[in-house]
Symmetry: C2
Subunit: 213 residues, 2 copies
């Protein structure tokens, strides 16, 4: 029975941790990325210190919270990337999956994109690494898929990584802008972005009278 007791304790801790994460989720969904530790603790029915005992500090909690959503979104994207269809169709499906996700839960999406920004965290922002982890992970995932499937000749790995991060950034920025202004339907946005990736920029003709872009 002692083993069951030990597992019982661990289970209890894990369950508590999951409960806390779900409470944090609710608060973030309501208050956005500015959700305070106090508010999260109150939502969970407890006080701050036990939150800190579970997650270390705010970035720890946010990282745990972000990992759940990031994992879920990445799984959806992988499914779209792996679907049995033509390349263009798969690209469009991936774009649409991402856009549908951010459309359905803008608060969560915003939280994932601007997580850190701690009032007084470590100052080691000299070079980079400040970008949202979700963007980086998506970029690396896409790079891997590109490198696995496409024949890009010499330097393919590096090219695939550049493209992975570039395409993810394109998707992100366009989605962000689209969410704010809603200038067109999701399907139209998907098609426009796919057209861009399909080289329509290079193929387009100059306007009459102009020197061309």
């Amino acid at each position: 029975m002692d083993t069951t007791q030990r597992t019982e304790q661990q289970r209890s801790a894990d369950r508590r941790r999951r409960e806390l994460l779900e409470a944090a989720d609710r608060v973030v969904l309501r208050d956005g990325p500015q959700a305070s530790m106090n508010a999260i603790a109150a939502e969970a029915g407890i006080t701050k210190p036990i939150l800190y005992r579970h997650f270390g500090d705010k970035s720890g909690l946010y990282a745990a919270l972000a990992k759940r959503h990031t994992d879920a979104l990445l799984a959806s994207l992988r499914a779209a990337l792996d679907a049995p269809a033509e390349r263009r169709e798969r690209v469009e499906a991936t774009l649409d999956t991402y856009l549908a996700a951010i459309e359905a839960r803008p608060q969560v999406y915003r939280f994932l994109m601007h997580p850190a920004e701690g009032t007084q965290g470590e100052q080691e922002f000299d070079t980079g690494k400040h970008s949202a982890p979700l963007l980086r992970r998506m970029g690396e995932e896409l790079a891997q898929v590109i490198e696995e499937r496409l024949d890009l000749g010499p330097g393919s790995q590096q090219l695939a990584r550049v493209w992975g991060h570039g395409i993810v950034g394109m998707m992100h920025a366009a989605g962000d802008w689209w969410l704010g202004e809603r200038p067109c339907t999701r399907a139209e946005l998907v098609k426009s972005l796919a057209d861009l990736l399909w080289g329509r920029l290079a193929a387009a003709g100059d306007k009459i009278g102009g020197p061309g872009f």
Copy 2:
């Protein structure tokens, strides 16, 4: 003489304002986006309240500060976009201009990209508008150039805007990742991104044995 006196007073105020902005610039360059109002005031040799008298609140100061850099960067980009050369060359020059700017002053760049995030600001983040103003402005500028110069058929304006924001996002994300990891030279990055925009993704062949991306 009263007019000169009034202008003298206004000049004095404007000069002070510029001095404060330059002090703020120095602090942001040193401390990054977490630069506190206290630190900025101390750098300027004064105390907080007069900073607030000049700029209202933190976001006001940051907006004034961001406008300077944004204007400067946008001017450089416009120059690259307007250069008398072929389209591909111009695209590469624009990419390179942007990347050179963020490479030269990563702190400023980071400040421009993550400005707000006030601890207790207005909560109206429901839909969008949380993206960095620099990104939006660059996207709109690029959209305008594309729409002016390219013949894209029906729906050209909307297409141009999607592309503008998408390309800017691509540039941003790839540059961010590149700044952090430095996996290649700037020239290589520029060429890879231009290749992506030129449709090499669609043109690439499948790898042997795979279903193709």
